[in-house]
Structures are given as C-alpha cells and as structure tokens.
Symmetry: C14
C-alpha cells in the first residue's frame, strides 16, 4: 500500500502533460499573433482585399495551430490513454 | 496513513496544472497583444475601416486564444478529472 | 502526526498556484502594454478618433486579458477547491 | 515537535507567494513602461492632446495592471488565508 | 510489488514525451507565424498574386512543419512503442 | 532543539522575500527607464512642453511603479508579519 | 527483480531522446520560417520569379532541415538501437 | 551544537539577500542606462536645453532607481534585522 | 546484478548525446535560415544572378552546417563507440 | 568538530555574495555601455558640445552605477560583517 | 564490482562532452549564418564582386568556425584521451 | 579527518567566486563593446574629432568597467581573504 | 577501491571543462560572425578596399577570438594539468 | 582514504573555474564583435581613415577585453593557487 511503480508512472505522465501543453502554447501563440498583427496592418492599408487577407490569415494560422494541437494530443494521451 | 502513491500522483498533477496554465498564458498573451497593437495602429491611419479591422483583430485573436484555451483545458483536467 | 500525503498535495498545489499566476502574468502584461502603447501613438497622430481607438484598445486588451484570467482561475482553484 | 505537515504547507505557500509576486511584476512593469514611453512621445509631438493622451495611457495601464493585481491577490491569499 | 525498473523506464519516457512535444512546438510555431505574417503583408500589397503567395506560404510552412512532426513522432513513439 | 518546523517556514519566507523583490524589480526598472528615455527624447524635440512631458512621465512611472511596490509589500509581509 | 542497470540506461536514453528532438526542433523551425517569410515577401514584389524563388526557398530550407533530421536520427537511435 | 534551526534560517536569509540585490540591480541598471543614453542623444541635438534635459533625466532615473532601492532595503533587512 | 558502473557510464553518454544534438541543432538551424532568407530576398531583387546567389547561399550554409555535423559526430560517438 | 551551523551560514553568505555581485554587474554594465555609446554618437555629430555631453554621460552613468554599488555593498556585508 | 571512481569520471566526461559540443555549436552556427546572409545580400547588389565576396565570407566564417572546432577538440579529448 | 565545516565554506567561496566573475563579465563586456562600436562609427563620420571621441569612449568605458572591477574584487576576496 | 576523492576532483574538472568550452564558444562565435557579416556588406559597397577591409576584419576577429582561446586554455588545463 | 574535505574544495574550485571562464567569455566576445563590425562598416565608408579607425577599434576592444582577462585570472587562480 506504499508507493508503487504505477504511481510514479502516472506522476511523470501528469507532470509531462503539464509541461507539454504549457511550453507548446508559447510558439503558436506568438506566431499566430504575428500573423494577426500583419493582417490587421495590411487590411488597414488595403481594405478592399479584407476578405482575401482574412482568409490568408486564417489559413496561415491554421497551419501554425498544428503544433499547438499536437501538444494538446500528446497531453491528452498522457492524461487518459497512458 | 503515511504518504501513499495517490498523494504523489495528485501533487504532480497540481504542479503540472500550475506550470501548464502559467507557461501557456505567455504565448497567447504576447501574440494577442501584438494583434491589438497593430489593429490600433491601423485604425488610427484608416478610421473608416474600424469595423472591418476590429472584426479582423477579433478573429485573429480568437484563433490565437486557442492554445491558451488548450492549456486551460489540460489544467482543468489535471485538477478535476485526474 | 508526521508528514502525511495531504500535506504534500497542498504544498504542491500552493507552489503550483504561485508559479501559475506569476508566469501567467508575464504574457498578458507585456501584450496589453504593447496595445496601450500603440493606441497612445495612434491617438497622438489622429486625436479625432480617440473614442474609436480607446474602444479598440479596450476590446483588444480584454481578449488579451483572457489568458491572465485563466491563470487566476487555475490559481484560485489550486488554493481553495483542491 | 519535529517537522510536521503544516510546516511544509506553509513553506510552500511562502515560496509560492514570493515567486508569484516576483514573476508577476515583470510583465505589467514592462508593459506599462511601454505605454508610458509612447504616451510621452505622442504628447511631445502633439501637446494639445495631452489630456486625451494621458487619459488613454492611464486607461491602458489600468487594464495592464490587472494581471499584476491578480498576482498580488494570489500572493496575499497564499500568505494569509491559506 | 515495489518500484521496478520498468516503472522508471516508463516514467522517463512520459516525461521525455512531454518535453519533446512541448519544446518542439516552439520553433515551428514561431516560424510558421512569421511566414503567415509576411504572406499577409505581401498579399495586402499585391493582391493579384494572392493564389501564388498562399501557395508559397503553404509550401514554406509545410517544410517548417516538418520538425514539429518529427517531435510528434518521437513523442508518440515514447508513449506507445517503447 | 534540532531543526523544527517553524525554522523551515521562516527559511522559505526569507528565500521567497529575496526572490520576490529581486525579480519584481526587473519589470518596473526596465519599464520606467523606457518612459524616462522617451520623455528625454520628446523634451529634446519640444522643450516648450517640458512641464507637461515631465508630468506625464511621472504619472506613467507612478503607475508602472505599482507592481514594484506590490513586490515590496509582499516581501515585507514575508519578513515581518509571517 | 529490483531496479537494474539496464533500466537506468533506457531511462536516460528516453529522456535524452525527448530533449534531443524537442530542442533540435527549435532552430530549424525558426530558421525555415524566416526563409519562408522572406520568400513570400520577395514573390509579392517580383511575382514573375515565383518559380525561381520557391525553388531557392526549398533548397535553403532543405539544408536548414538537416540539423532537424540529425536530431531525429539521434532520437530514433536512442529509442530503438540502443 | 550540531546544525540548528536558526542556522538554516540565517543561511536562507543570506542567500535570499544575495539574489534579491543581484536580480534587483538588473532592471534599474538597464532602465537608467536607457534614460541616460536618450538624454545624451537629445542634448547632442538640442544643447540649449541641456539643463532641462539633465533635470528630466535625473527625475526619471530617480523614479527608476526606486525598485533598486527597495531591493537594497529588503536585502539589508534580510542581513541585519532578521 | 545490481547497478554497476558501466550502466552509469552509458546513461551519462546517452543523456549527453541527446543534449549534444538537441542544443547543437539550434545554432546552425537559425543561422542557415538567415542565409536562406537573405538569398531569397536578393534573388527577388536581382533574379538574373539566381545561380550565383544560390551557389553562395549553399557554400555559406555548408560552412554553417559544420558545427551541426560536429554535434552529430559527437552524439554518434557517445552512442556507439563509447 | 564536524559540520556546524556557522559553517553553513558562512557558505550561504559566500555563495550569496558571489551571485549578488555577479548578477548585479549585468544591468549597470549594459546600461552604462548604452549611455557611453550614445554619448560618442552625439559628440561625433556635435563636437562643440563635447564637454556638456561628457558631463551628462557621467551624471547619467553615476546614477546608473548606483545599483551596481548597492550590489557591492551587499556582497561586502555578506563577506565581512555577517 | 560495484560503482567505482573511474565510472564516475567517465560519466562526467561524457556528459561534459555532450554539453561542450552542444553549447559550442550555437555561437558559430548563428555567427556564420549572419555572415552568409550578408554575403548573399551584398552579392545580390554587386554581383560583379561575387568572387571577392565569397572569399571574404569564407575567410570570416573560417575564423568564426574556430571556436566550434575548439569545442569539437575538447569534446573528443573528453571522449577518448581522458 | 573527514569533511569539516571549513571545507564546505571554502567550496562555497570558490564556487561563488567563479560565478561572480563569470556573470559579472557579461554586462561590462557587452556595454563596452557597444561604446567601442559607436565610437568607431562616429570617428568614421567625423575623423577630425577622433581624439575627442576616443577620450569620450575611454571615459565611458572606464565607468562601465567599474562593475566588472567590483566583481573582480569580490571574487578575489572570496579566494584569498575569506 | 570505492569512490575516492581524486575521482570526484577529476569528475568536476571534466564537467567544468565541458561547460567552459561550450559556453565560451557562444560569445566569440556570435561576435566574429557579426564582424564577418559587416565586412561582407562593406566590401559589397566598396570593393576597391577589399584588402583593407579583410585585414580589419581579421584583426578585429583575432581580438574577439581571444576569449575563446582563454576558454580553450582553461579547458585544456582542466583536462591535462589538473 | 575516503573522500576528504580537500577533495571537495578542489572539485568546487574546478567547477567554478569552468563556469567563470565559460560565462566570462560571452560578454567580451559579443562586445568585441560589435566593435569589429562597426569598424569594418566605418572603414568601408571612409577608407582614408583606416589607420585611425583600426587604432580606435583596438583601443576599444582592449578595454572590452579586460573583463575577459579578469575571468581568466580568476579561473587560473582557482586552478593553481587555491
């Protein structure tokens, strides 16, 4: 009834999940913010192309989001599947 | 009645939750701030397109917010579900 | 009456709460400052749109604030609910 | 009369409070400084709008201050309530 | 029934998976965000070439994504195969 | 007469106080320096508004100072009240 | 049946694999993103040379990718061969 | 006559004092340097206002110095009062 | 059959290999990306010299790659020869 | 004659002194360098005001030096008085 | 047959070799990349001097490479000679 | 004849001396380099004032050097006096 | 035949050698790269002075190299003489 | 014949020497590189003053070198005198 191996495994998994999602949110957060900032700047200069620019921004952000989603997937796997 | 495995698991989960949300707030916070900054700059130059620019800013920030929300989800899961 | 499991859990929760809020205040603090800086710059150039720009700044900061509030929520949960 | 659990809890709470407020002062400090810097620059260029610009700066800084205040709240809770 | 070697191996694998994906998301996230930002800027200046620019952005982001995917692969291998 | 719990609590409080004030001085120090730098620049360009600019700089710095003062308060509480 | 040497070796290998791929993804991710960003900017200015520029970007990114692939190779060797 | 609690308390206080003053000198040092740099630049451009600019620089630096002095106070308290 | 010295040696070698390749990929990755970015920019301005510029870029990247290859060599030596 | 409390106190004081002065030299060193750099730049443009600019630089550096001197004071106190 | 001193020596040497080469690749990698980037930029502007510029770039990179080679030498000495 | 208190004190003093001088060389090194860089730039533009500029650079560097010398003093005190 | 003091001394020396050379390669690597980059830029603008510029670059890099060589010397002393 | 105090002292001295020289090479390396870079740029623009500029660069670098030499001195003292 003392500390067993499975407890240490789960502890490591939970710590790993926390750092995985925490660190993994830094890159996409900054990157998508840069995309949004430049899109606003471009629309301010050329508002007629707002639809085109919003679409480009969203496509670019969607790809950027991918590593954030990978982090989410790994964190969820560490929480539930393992 | 001494320290048991489940205590270590919960400790790891709580530490992980703290770092997950703490680190996960850095990226979106900086990124959304960049978007808001550029939107203000653009509206100052082209105030007639303020609605369009605010909408673009909010859409861009909403996507940027996503990794912050993922961090919140993982942190809540570490607190309550685990 | 020696150290028991619940003590370690609470210690981890309190350390986690401290780092969660401490780290989580960096990103929004820098981001909102960038928004405020650019809003002041824009109003200086185009003071007639001050109301519009202040509104945009506040909307942008409100979204940026969100990850800071998430950190507050997680920290409070670590302090009281857990 | 040796080290008991409550001592470890309080130690963790005090360390957490220190890091919470220490780290939490970095972001708002830098951010509000950026806002103040840009406000001075704008007033230098357009001194007639000094009242408007000071008001905008203060509003922007007030929002930026919020994450600093959250850190203060969490640190005080860690010191006194817990 | 105490802690055995396989438990330590799995703990290390889970911690490693967390850091692998967490750190591995920083670089591609920032890099892809830069690509998206510049694509928006370029489309705002030259909207007739939007298709060409979106294609270039996506090709560039796809290559940038590769190291993020490598991190995902290593993290999944650490979770399931090992 | 060996190490007791209250000693560990005070040790943690003193370490926490040191890091709290040390880290908490970084942000306001850099931020207020930026404000002072820009105020000097603006006064150099527009010396007739020196009073107005000094006032704005001081107001902006006063708000920026706040997180530094919060750190001082928490550090003093960790030293004396706890 | 307790912890043996081979368990510690494998633990170190798995932790090393995680950090190897995680850290090794930062550099190429940022670098390739810079290349993609500049390629988009150049195509926006000179769309007639889009093929040439895309080819140059891909060649440059392919070389940049190499250190990311080295990291992948070392991580895989740490997982399977060792 | 072995290690007692008061020794650990003083050790923590001395370590804390060292980090408090060491870290607390970074921010004001960089910030005041920025103010001095900009003041020199401004005086070079507008030497007739040298007195005004030096005064502004000193006022701005005095406020910036405050967090450095707070660090000194906390460090001295950790050394002597505690 | 317990932990012997050779196990600790191999563990250190594997951890060292991981950090060696992981850290060693950051510098060349960023550096080669800068070279590729500037080559794209230059070709966009002067497409007639594309061959010359691509050759220069590749030569420059090949030298930059060298420290990445050194890291690979050391990591492989740590894995297999030692 | 084994390790006693006063030994640990002195060890902590010496480590603290080292970090206090080491970290405390970073900020003023960088800040004063910025002031010196800008003073050289300004004198190069306006050599007639060299005396005035050198005086301003020295006054600004003297204030910047203060946090470095505080660090020296705390380090000396940790070495000799304590 | 337990852990002996020579095992600890070799472990330290291998860890040291890994960090030596890993950290030592960052500086030259970034520096050589900057040289290659500026050479590409200069050749794009002045392609007639391509030979001269490539030679200068290679000479500059060769000197920059030196610290990377020192790191390689120290790492190899740590692996084989020691 | 085993480890005594004075050994630990000296160990701490030597480690502290190493970090004190190592960290304390970063700030002045970078700061003086900035001053030298700007002095070269200014002399290139205005070579008639070379003597004046060299003198200003040396005065500025001498003040900047002070924190480096403080670090040297503390490190020497840690080595010999203590 | 167990672990003796000389083993710990050599382990510390080898670890110290690794970090000494690894960290010591960062500064000169980046600095020499900056010199090489600016030399290429200057030769591209003024190719007639290529010999003079290459000589200046080499002299400047030779001085910059010195701290890298100091690191090599200390690392070799830690490996062989100690 | 087991581990004695002098072994721990020497271990600390060797580790301290490694970090002292390793960290102490970063600042001067970067700073001298900046000086060399600006000198090359200035000579490219004004080659007639090459001798004057080289002399200024060398004087500036010599002062910058000082903190690197201090680090060397402390490291050598830690190796041989102590």
């Amino acid at each position: 009834m003392a500390i067993e191996g499975v407890d240490i495994i789960r502890s490591a998994a939970f710590l790993g999940a926390g750092f995985c999602m925490g660190l993994g949110a830094i890159g996409p957060g900054v990157g998508e913010g840069m995309a949004a900032a430049k899109a606003c700047e471009a629309i301010g200069k050329n508002p007629k192309e707002a639809g085109l620019l919003t679409r480009t921004m969203l496509v670019g952000q969607a790809v950027t989001e991918s590593t954030g989603i990978y982090s989410l997937v790994i964190a969820l796997l560490l929480l539930f599947v393992v």
